[in-house]
């Protein structure tokens, strides 16, 4: 195809899927938070970075291994998210949603700036856990085990989140709060608690993505800030309220980006934004969204 070896194309497709897995997890968290709270969480990328740093520092300082970090880092960062919701975001719910965007932007500046001043801009690498090292030879391509794990894990997590929201009692309550939180509160449901837990859950998803990403990317204080802009575009393409839309478009755009890297590398950084512009012109509500 275009004189490019098949193995190269498949390799980039694989990388694209890995990136898409991160886009999917981040945009899923953004979609859940936005759906319930009407807040566009600009700090999402910063919490993703915090997740990666939590895994890294956990290992360096306390000897926490990768598998424990998969659980502990999202938990720690999620609690931090709940605290920030209780202390800061809570005061803005009655105002224009734009203030939520601005507040979380300020939060992102504080988090990323602090990490940068303490750890510097140069990245640190996180070792691939022993059980996931090596590569499988599939005959037509070499598949690094860790990458396959990231893709499977992220699809599993997204599926689990979908199940939790669409098929359980807790999810039903959450969806009811999205529809009409005042009425739900009148039924005796503790809505502020649901909001806090949801925000914490969305943040924990971002942190989990950060832990998964730590062994494949360099852990730097700014790893999230470039990602969050792409994820915003993914969310606009998918349609903001839609859970399925955010996951599908996250994976798909990762793949498209990977293919662009092979065909026309100069455009690979902007392809997602260009697609977003086209989608907006053709379908302003996004591919899966309703106006």
């Amino acid at each position: 195809m275009f004189g490019i070896p098949v193995a190269v194309i498949l390799g980039q497709l694989m990388l694209g899927l890995v990136n898409g897995a991160f886009y999917a997890m981040l945009s899923l968290g953004l979609a859940v938070i936005f759906g319930l709270m009407g807040v566009v969480n600009f700090a999402h990328g910063a919490f993703y970075t915090l997740g990666a740093f939590a895994a890294l520092l956990g290992m360096q300082w306390f000897g926490v291994n990768y598998w424990a970090a998969l659980l502990l880092a999202p938990l720690t960062v999620g609690i931090l998210g709940i605290v920030s919701e209780r202390v800061l975001l809570r005061h803005l719910y009655r105002l224009d949603p734009l203030y939520g965007l601005l507040l979380t932007f300020g939060m992102a500046l504080v988090i990323e700036g602090t990490l940068r001043e303490i750890f510097g801009v140069s990245g640190q690498s996180y070792p691939v856990p022993p059980a996931l090292q090596g590569a499988l030879n599939l005959g037509f391509m070499i598949l690094p085990v860790y990458r396959a794990w990231v893709i499977l894990a992220s699809i599993a997590v997204c599926g689990l989140t979908w199940f939790l929201i669409e098929r359980t009692r807790l999810g039903a309550t959450l969806r009811a709060a999205t529809e009409n939180s005042q009425l739900l509160q009148a039924f005796g449901v503790n809505v502020p608690l649901i909001v806090s837990v949801t925000y914490g859950g969305g943040i924990a998803l971002a942190a989990l993505a950060g832990v998964l990403a730590a062994p494949v990317v360099l852990v730097t204080p700014l790893m999230g800030s470039s990602l969050v802009t792409v994820v915003f575009a993914v969310v606009v393409i998918g349609g903001m309220g839609s859970i399925l839309g955010s996951v599908v478009s996250g994976l798909a755009l990762g793949v498209i980006e990977g293919i662009t890297k092979v065909v026309y590398p100069e455009a690979s950084n902007v392809i997602v934004f260009v697609i977003m512009a086209i989608v907006l012109i053709v379908r302003p509500a996004g591919l899966f969204g309703r106006e």
């Binding site: 105002l95 734009l98 507040l103 606009v236």
Partner: protein
């Protein structure tokens, strides 16, 4: 005399006297450029209620265009600035036409994403100098009449540009067109039902705001003699929002005060605390959004109203 007249007289006296009272002219020019940027931004956020998260694209693109024309093509200062402003206007028209299809937070995210395209073009295009940007720009002369190399001459040139732009913005807002913009900001569906073609109004104000932001960017490049990626970066878009909000969005002089505070902090605080200055800016952002949404000028105006009426203004 009204208090605002006194204030403008004092501000004018101060601005004219800056080179005599020992304030570093380069610092003052940088401050004025960012004040122009914030005022242009305020036209959109404060008076039309549209929160753009991508204004660095216009500021930076115009800066790059002017810098490239001066450095690589040997254009004169004034034509290069005019060309930079034209680039910003064109870009504003394209980005605005796409972005105004969505409202509120979507509008913010779309402008952010489209501005990111401009950032990557500036990073990768062969004529923008990549990570280094374009450096060592000569200021040239004003239409061959007088040289702009001296900081003092350049300062007065920038001051005139600032005053001109400030008066233009006042004129726009006080015109019937500006009144329609405010009506759209306060109640879009009502303005629509009154028969105003709101998309045309919104696009025009977006282009105006982008154009004037570009003017500020072009001047800033010439003042400092360089233009870099940080001018076109997302953080620059965030800072102009902070300046506008901190000073008072929707007030005329607020953005100038906001720009003065932020530029002064960056210039003098970074000597003391180094990179922590961005953490401090983030914290100011948080405090401003939580407790200080009317900004300095807005709070002062509210205070005065309260004294007159004996109670807080409603609404």
């Amino acid at each position: 005399m009204r208090p605002s007249t006194v204030f403008y007289f004092l501000a004018a006296a101060f601005a004219l006297a800056v080179p005599q009272i020992g304030i570093y002219p380069i610092f003052m020019m940088k401050l004025l450029c960012f004040a122009m940027f914030a005022c242009a931004y305020n036209l959109l956020l404060g008076f039309s209620g549209m929160l753009s998260f991508g204004h660095a694209a216009f500021f930076g693109a115009a800066g790059y265009a002017t810098a490239w024309l001066v450095a690589a093509r040997g254009w004169g200062t004034v034509p290069a600035i005019a060309a930079g402003v034209a680039v910003a206007a064109l870009l504003g028209w394209v980005i605005g036409a796409i972005a105004i299809r969505r409202r509120g937070i979507y509008f913010a995210m779309v402008t952010l994403a489209l501005a990111q395209i401009v950032y990557f073009v500036c990073l990768e295009a062969p004529f923008t100098g990549g990570e280094n940007g374009l450096q060592g720009l000569a200021r040239g002369s004003f239409l061959g009449l007088f040289s702009l190399h001296s900081d003092i001459t350049m300062y007065y040139f920038v001051l005139v540009a600032f005053v001109g732009q400030y008066l233009l913005i006042r004129r726009i807002i006080h015109s019937p067109y500006g009144q329609v913009l405010k009506a759209i900001r306060d109640n879009e569906s009502r303005a629509l039902s009154l028969g105003y073609d709101i998309n045309r109004y919104k696009l025009l104000v977006f282009v105006l705001s982008a154009t004037l932001s570009g003017f500020a960017g072009s001047l800033k490049g010439l003042v400092l003699g360089f233009i870099t990626l940080s001018d076109v970066q997302q953080s620059n878009s965030g800072e102009v929002i902070l300046m506008t909000l901190l000073g008072g969005s929707g007030t005329f002089f607020g953005p100038v005060i906001g720009a003065a505070v932020v530029v002064t902090l960056q210039e003098y605080l970074s000597d003391i605390v180094g990179g922590w200055v961005s953490v401090i800016i983030g914290a100011i952002f948080v405090v401003c959004v939580l407790a200080f949404r009317r900004g300095v000028v807005g709070e002062l105006a509210a205070l005065r109203l309260r004294r007159w009426w004996g109670q807080a203004p409603t609404g």
